[in-house]
Symmetry: C3
Subunit: 369 residues, 3 copies
């Protein structure tokens, strides 16, 4: 680990920012406004932290020009301070050594190919016909099965599994515990003949294709397709513990927060944001630029960009019980209101039913076509 | 990897299907109707894809006889085309080499026993008194602790952990990242004496017993029991990222979709379907043939077969906010309606409360008995 | 594995309990009242199992004195029988051998330090400057990156990953598949200039600090902080498959059940209980002694101890559909009731809206400050 050091002037020049204050301020790390030391770079993006600025001991602070005028210390002035800070912070990140070459305790199939400048760590297993491309890192304990491709500059941090027929594009970052390319959950129940009443496993003959610049969070799982492939576009960002079922498609630049899940053959557009713990049922389509709030369940296809939600608000448990019990009477209550002689119109409270095609079904995760 | 090749006639004979068209059509893989090539087997099961049939380039298509009459190409005629296809597709699945024997870089305890025809891959660790039976595969990076049994023909794909006292039946398929037999989550809070106010760990002395023909999806966890065992019956099918807590019981032929969870000591019957992200609280019983839709929370025992749900529909966020805010007023609204002089009957909107025994409690996952 | 054996008299003396019956009863394991054999210790804590007492074959039973009077067999009398049982049961737990020393097939960086009495198992990788302290166990297949500390008496069961800058206190128990210290999910979308429209990764320069006596369940993930650290206090108990995002804080003695999740920078107090599958949105604060019931979503900060819930009750699917459809009309129904001439007061059903700051947003898991 090397501690990198930059002066405020060097950072201003490198990132094309205006500098106010001391060009010689030496910076060796980053900190929050509240905790930064004199050799730290901090930033101010959210106005609610503005009051902390005058107290901060940070050696330099990235900020918008509207905040710089009143600031006595060293400022790096950016139109988007958070973005500028993120770029500069990367300079201070300790980078572990990952020397080129294959560790002596790795198990490489003779038909696998590994670029000379790739890193393959200890206790890595690489199967038949798989290929590790230039500059890629395969960290300790990874298992790569047959017929996989790890593209240029990919980083598999550690203990990642690519089961079979998984192709990663360039610069894909995969965190520990991720499993890509396991069998999709395809089962069928024969109704007659031999095997009736027992589940029949549906072979999963597809693969997984992941584009460039994706990030896959720790312990996330992405199954391979039944016949065609499961696909992630370019610049898809997945947090931890996400489940992507077989034959799902996730469009370019879509980001999904932790513990969200996409059932089989669902298709999510570009520039979507899927909240933590949210679910998307099988075979649905979500268009571009859709936002799903946390722990919502998407039960029908979405054809208009915008924000969508389900769920009910958090309450103290006593209030919640009273209201939740009434939920079971909701249709009766509505019918009673509609039946009143003073009802102006029945149309807006007409008997309703959740359309059949919007019903979540367990079978959505069980491949049926 | 070998590419298997079969003629349509061979398949018809092997699977007892009627053939229409060319018995000599050579098939080397599978495809969807839309994408299959001339050496691919495809299938038609869902009527909504019928229109694709005439355009398909597939070398042969498995279909019901009612669709075959109008079909010009080669057809394999089955009463259940999807089931027949699934059986045939297995012939085309590439099977990786898993030669009998123990890899040179595996760590086997001297008291462990491994059948001569079993496969034990690289970087596998097998603990004291554990037994790997005939024809079983223990893939790269698996860790098997003490006193475990991996039954005949099981396949642990890679990086599976069996912690201790885990017994797998025959032909159990376990995907990467699965952890079976970790400590159940048993904690108690002493109210007096030494240790008051600190959690006391409750030892987990039971094991896990899994029947024949089960499948366990990637990154699923199944804890071992506190005193008795956690049990899965035969032919239980679990998708990815499922959590089965200590002393749970899952009956034969039950299937659970991704990210679902069963809390401690819950008992699920046979032939149930549990939807993705659904939860079952501790100590409940669910009878046979129950379907739970996705992301529902089972808060009381279920004694009648059928389909059960909770949750609210997805809405655009603006509408959702308006309605969700009203949920907090639901009991007051209902009381007002019930109090109206024109109310015909109060009984159907009487003050309600969710029965105490149906209240989800965090402690359900904390072993208390 | 050794089978430990104790007499009832020895247990009474060791744990300071009154004994009724045979001091010589030999105990070699534990069992439930229903299944215990003559050499088993059982317990009676929940009154609903009292009827099983007279039929039990257990060699000795831990119980409250109020149950002992009528009991003919051997009883160990405790004020809190469950707590007393838990302490005694630990004596009967088989403890696997974990001899001091480093396995021949482990990969240790020259700058790492390992206490002489620590155990490092097969296929373990330990990175630069990391330290394994006295009495710690690092089980098979663990990967420990750079700059980590595994404190005195910690146990990493197997296949645990500590990515970088992770400090575990003393006696922390970590189950298989856990990933601590992976990159927090920090991304920003530049609106202009180079890189506009592509996600920019925000470097995660913090670490993870975990206190003494914590337990981390199988396949749980805890990300490292963006600038400051992600922090767990002392005696925090996490079940399986939990997600703790970057810069979250979990206070002493808090327990979280399986599949729950905490988004970035959220702060949870001491002695809280978080139910299975529950979620806490980013940047919220939860005070001490708060209980969140299963699968609830915490959408606003909580400043009063107590129990909180969201969600709706489980219903048969037919009833659920009818009521759920009405949820979409709830605001209109409420407005109609409020508009009635006989309405006594509008105030309690006034137009409501879920406050903006309580809206779950996907971005909560995407670091923005």
């Amino acid at each position: 680990m090397t501690h990198n050091e930059y002066t405020a002037g060097e950072l201003a020049e490198r990132f094309g920012l205006a500098l106010q204050g001391s060009a010689d301020a030496r910076l060796r790390g980053v900190g929050t406004l509240a905790r930064a030391g004199e050799d730290h770079l901090a930033f101010l993006a959210n106005p609610k932290y503005r009051a902390q600025l005058s107290q901060s001991r940070a050696g330099a602070v990235v900020m918008h020009e509207e905040n710089a005028a009143a600031h006595a210390g060293t400022a790096l002035i950016a139109r988007d301070p958070y973005v500028a800070f993120a770029r500069m912070a990367a300079l201070f990140e300790p980078r572990p050594e990952r020397p080129a070459g294959v560790h002596a305790m790795a198990d490489i199939h003779p038909t696998a190919s590994i670029a000379p400048d790739a890193h393959v760590g200890a206790f890595v297993s690489i199967g038949a016909r798989s290929r590790i491309e230039s500059g890629a890192t395969v960290g300790a304990g990874c298992v790569i099965g047959e017929d996989c491709v790890v593209g240029e500059g990919c980083e598999l941090v550690a203990r990642v599994t690519l089961v079979t027929r998984v192709r990663l594009g360039r610069r894909v970052l995969v965190h520990p515990g991720v499993v890509i390319g396991a069998d999709g959950f395809g089962i069928a129940m024969p109704r007659e003949g031999d095997g009736a009443g027992h589940w029949l496993k549906v072979p999963q003959l597809g693969g997984v294709v992941i584009g460039d610049d994706c990030e896959i969070g720790a312990n996330t799982t992405i199954d391979r397709g039944a016949i065609d492939d499961t696909v992630l576009g370019n610049d898809v960002r997945l947090d931890n513990q996400i489940q992507i079922a077989h034959n799902a498609f996730v469009g370019d630049h879509t980001a999904m927060a932790g513990c969200s899940a996409v059932a089989g053959s669902a298709r999510i557009g570009r520039y979507c944001l899927i909240g933590g713990g949210a679910g998307v049922l099988g075979h649905l389509e979500i268009c571009d630029k859709v936002v799903i709030t946390s722990m919502s369940l998407v039960t029908h296809s979405i054809r208009e960009p915008g924000e969508y939600s389900s769920g009910v608000p958090l309450m103290d448990n006593r209030s919640w019980r009273r209201n939740a019990a009434r939920f079971k009477q909701l249709d009766r209550l509505a019918r009673r209101i509609a039946a009143r002689p003073d009802a102006h119109s029945h149309s807006d409270v007409a008997a309703g039913d959740v359309a059949h095609d919007t019903l979540p079904r367990p079978g959505d995760a069980v491949d049926k076509d």
